[in-house]
């Protein structure tokens, strides 16, 4: 490491200890293990700032936070999977001795060979570590991909095709609330409100044209020229307008995440704002 890196780490460590001490003094009167509590809050705040430092450029503090985050999360999820899936779900159904060893309540149910299948598939996945038997790991992969793809085929065909088809069955001339009584009546009762006939019909027309032109854009067997091309262009415009709306909506969600972090820094850590 360069000298500047040592210097940065030194300054940050001093700041951290100073901040920890101040926080500990502030919350000392609240009772409890104030030293550990203040350490946690200060450490979390420093990690937050270390991650934010990436906005400037890649630096040793970011690297430290990144590696800590990756290492802790990888280990956490491995333990979580082991204890919840293997120890929590599988062992209590297979063996009383192992259940007692892991201090899990044994589920004494009739012997079900179906529980052995995931065990065998899981072990086969591990054969990947062997050069000689590595090919066996393809069997569980084929099982997982094939089974899920088959299940998804039905699910998507239903939700993305049949339900979508029926959702486009909208009347273009009249609705239940606003029966069509001729062009004269339409203009004499013209109403721009959201509940009016014009808005209801406009919505239905947008649905129809949007779906139709959108599908034309995603038609790959024909070149997009002539009328087909024009419909495809309208389709991409409708998609872009939709994406724009979606972008704005999601950005607002991200702002709320930022507000959450800032509230933590200024509230929980610095105590400048009340939570």
């Amino acid at each position: 490491m360069r000298r500047s890196t040592y210097l940065i780490f030194g300054v940050v460590t001093v700041l951290f200890i100073f901040s920890w001490a101040i926080k500990a003094l502030v919350i000392a009167g609240d009772g409890g293990n104030y030293l550990a509590q203040s350490f946690m809050v200060t450490f979390a705040a420093f990690l937050t700032l270390a991650i934010y430092s990436f906005l400037y450029e890649d630096n040793p503090l970011y690297k430290f936070a990144e590696h800590l985050f990756v290492g802790v999360s990888a280990a956490y999820w491995m333990c979580q999977a082991f204890w919840s899936t293997i120890v929590g779900n599988l062992i209590p159904r297979l063996s009383e001795g192992l259940s007692n060893y892991f201090m899990q309540p044994y589920q004494a149910s009739p012997w079900n060979p179906a529980y052995i299948i995931p065990v065998v598939l899981g072990v086969l996945l591990l054969t990947r570590l062997s050069n000689k038997y590595g090919w066996l790991s393809r069997w569980p992969l084929a099982f997982i991909v094939g089974t899920t793809a088959g299940l998804n085929f039905i699910r998507y065909l239903r939700s993305d095709f049949i339900v979508q088809v029926s959702s486009t069955f909208v009347p273009l001339m009249s609705t239940k609330l606003h029966p069509w009584e001729g062009i004269g009546a339409f203009f004499s009762n013209f109403d721009l409100s959201a509940t009016g006939q014009f808005a209801a019909l406009l919505t239905n027309w947008v649905i129809f044209l949007g779906v139709f032109c959108g599908i034309v854009y995603f038609f790959f067997s024909k070149e997009h020229t002539g009328t087909f091309g024009r419909a495809s262009k309208i389709g991409i415009w409708i998609l872009m307008i939709t994406f724009g709306a979606s972008f704005g909506y999601t950005v607002m969600g991200r702002i709320s995440l930022l507000v959450g972090r800032i509230t933590f820094l200024f509230g929980d850590w610095l105590g400048l704002v009340q939570n």
Binding site: D58, F161, I162, V170, V211, F219, K222
Partner: protein
């Protein structure tokens, strides 16, 4: 003495009358409460029961006509308690409660014999629907309904539309796969983002920098991830031919295993199996933002010339694409997550929108199976448009029978 006795008698009589006068209302009050408890709401009538159709069994549908006191009469019904017994004489156990105004109840029991709410199939079941007054002050039992038997059905008749769609789609897929295998030239229009992949690999080779391929957060069974594997195979083959470095950080261990197989096969196809390094496809973590932090760090330290994001992405899409953009990489993305496409559009050079990702895998692979399925998808879309137009006319003219054809029952 007589006067004293008379006064004493009068005082006693007065006291007794006061005591009686105080007791009397108490008697009346208690009688009034008893009357309320005894006179409950009128019972429900016209009880019907049948096995719940189109299910795996262990469920019964009970129907009734509401009590005359439900919203009318005494207006005292709070709801209906549904009770079950295996014997017409009882004892009955409560299995559900519905508020006043309801006329049916689906009793969906457990399949497991040891479960508390187990409902046996092919066994006589007896039900009662008791009208319950406000505050449970009175409960009026109904007549006993039964015997009813629940049983499972092999087919869900509410899903005919799905079966027909599966058959039609399968027919088109098989037809076009066979046609493609027979050597027929199936046209697919050029897709901008995919045309750029080869150029991007060439750029990375010229610059002597690696290519970063991100498969997203999907599992190995997600359609987007499967499509991404095909594109990865193509990219890896080109990378092997040009002898450029490839980095594939993965989020899911199973995706990593499949990706390793794909890349290994691609290097073998390119005739350079000795250049394949297992570490080029590596696992990072299964925590979303930790994965993002690691990939972002990789982008800034290794400075890849090209970043390819293909697969299923969630909130990390913009974080990845923005960092890649800052690092000056050419970026090509594709996902079927509609909420994430806008982020890729603003931060990447080329974006495959939704189904273009699936089409890209067929376009690049030129495999008969993929081409056949893509053609079948196009036919599916054509059928979609035709059905939509008929449906629009049906909706306008009020032909509900056509609309009902597309109603799928769970």
């Amino acid at each position: 003495m007589k006067l004293k006795l008379l006064v004493w008698f009068l005082v006693m009589a007065f006291g007794a009358s006061l005591a009686l006068a105080q007791d009397e209302p108490a008697v009346v009050d208690s009688l009034a409460i008893d009357t309320t408890q005894v006179i409950g709401p009128a019972p429900v009538s016209m009880l019907t029961g049948k096995d719940k159709p189109n299910d795996h069994g262990h469920a019964v549908v009970i129907g009734w006509e509401t009590s005359p006191d439900d919203g009318a009469g005494q207006n005292s019904v709070m709801g209906y308690q549904i009770l079950l017994s295996l014997n017409p004489e009882g004892p009955f156990d409560s299995v559900g409660f519905v508020p006043a105004g309801n006329v049916s109840f689906e009793h969906i029991g457990a399949k497991d014999k040891d479960a508390k709410n187990f409902v046996p199939d092919n066994t006589d079941l007896y039900y009662r629907v008791d009208a319950v007054s406000m505050g449970w002050t009175a409960v009026t039992p109904s007549a006993v309904l039964g015997p009813i038997q629940s049983c499972g059905q092999l087919f869900n008749r509410g899903r005919w539309a799905v079966l027909i769609a599966v058959l039609i789609f399968s027919f088109f897929t098989i037809f076009y796969v066979m046609k493609a295998r027979g050597g027929a030239e199936l046209y697919i229009r050029p897709i901008g983002g995919i045309e750029a992949v080869d150029d991007a690999i060439g750029r990375a080779t010229e610059m002597g920098r690696p290519i970063l391929y991100v498969l997203g957060l999907g599992s190995a069974a997600d359609v987007a991830t499967i499509a991404s594997f095909t594109i990865l195979g193509r990219v890896a083959k080109r990378v092997a031919e040009y002898q450029t470095a490839l980095m594939v950080p993965t989020y899911d261990p199973i995706v990593m295993t499949v990706a390793q197989e794909v890349v290994k096969s691609a290097y073998m196809d390119a005739g350079r199996p000795e250049d394949y390094k297992e570490d080029c496809v590596h696992f990072v973590t299964q925590s979303q933002f930790a994965y993002v932090a690691a990939v972002n760090g990789l982008m800034l330290r290794e400075r890849p010339a090209t970043n390819v994001y293909m697969g299923k992405f969630y909130a990390e899409s913009l974080l990845l694409a923005e960092t890649g953009s800052m690092a000056g990489s050419i970026q090509i993305s594709g996902t079927d997550e509609i909420a994430q496409i806008p982020f890729f559009i603003v931060a990447c050079d080329y974006t495959l929108i939704g189904e273009e990702l699936y089409a890209a895998s067929a376009y690049l692979g030129r495999e008969p199976k993929l081409l056949g399925s893509l053609k079948a998808q196009d036919w599916g879309k054509a059928i979609f448009v035709v059905l939509s137009i008929i449906g629009l006319i049906a909706a306008q003219l009020g032909w509900t029978s056509f609309v009902d054809l597309f109603r799928v029952v769970d």
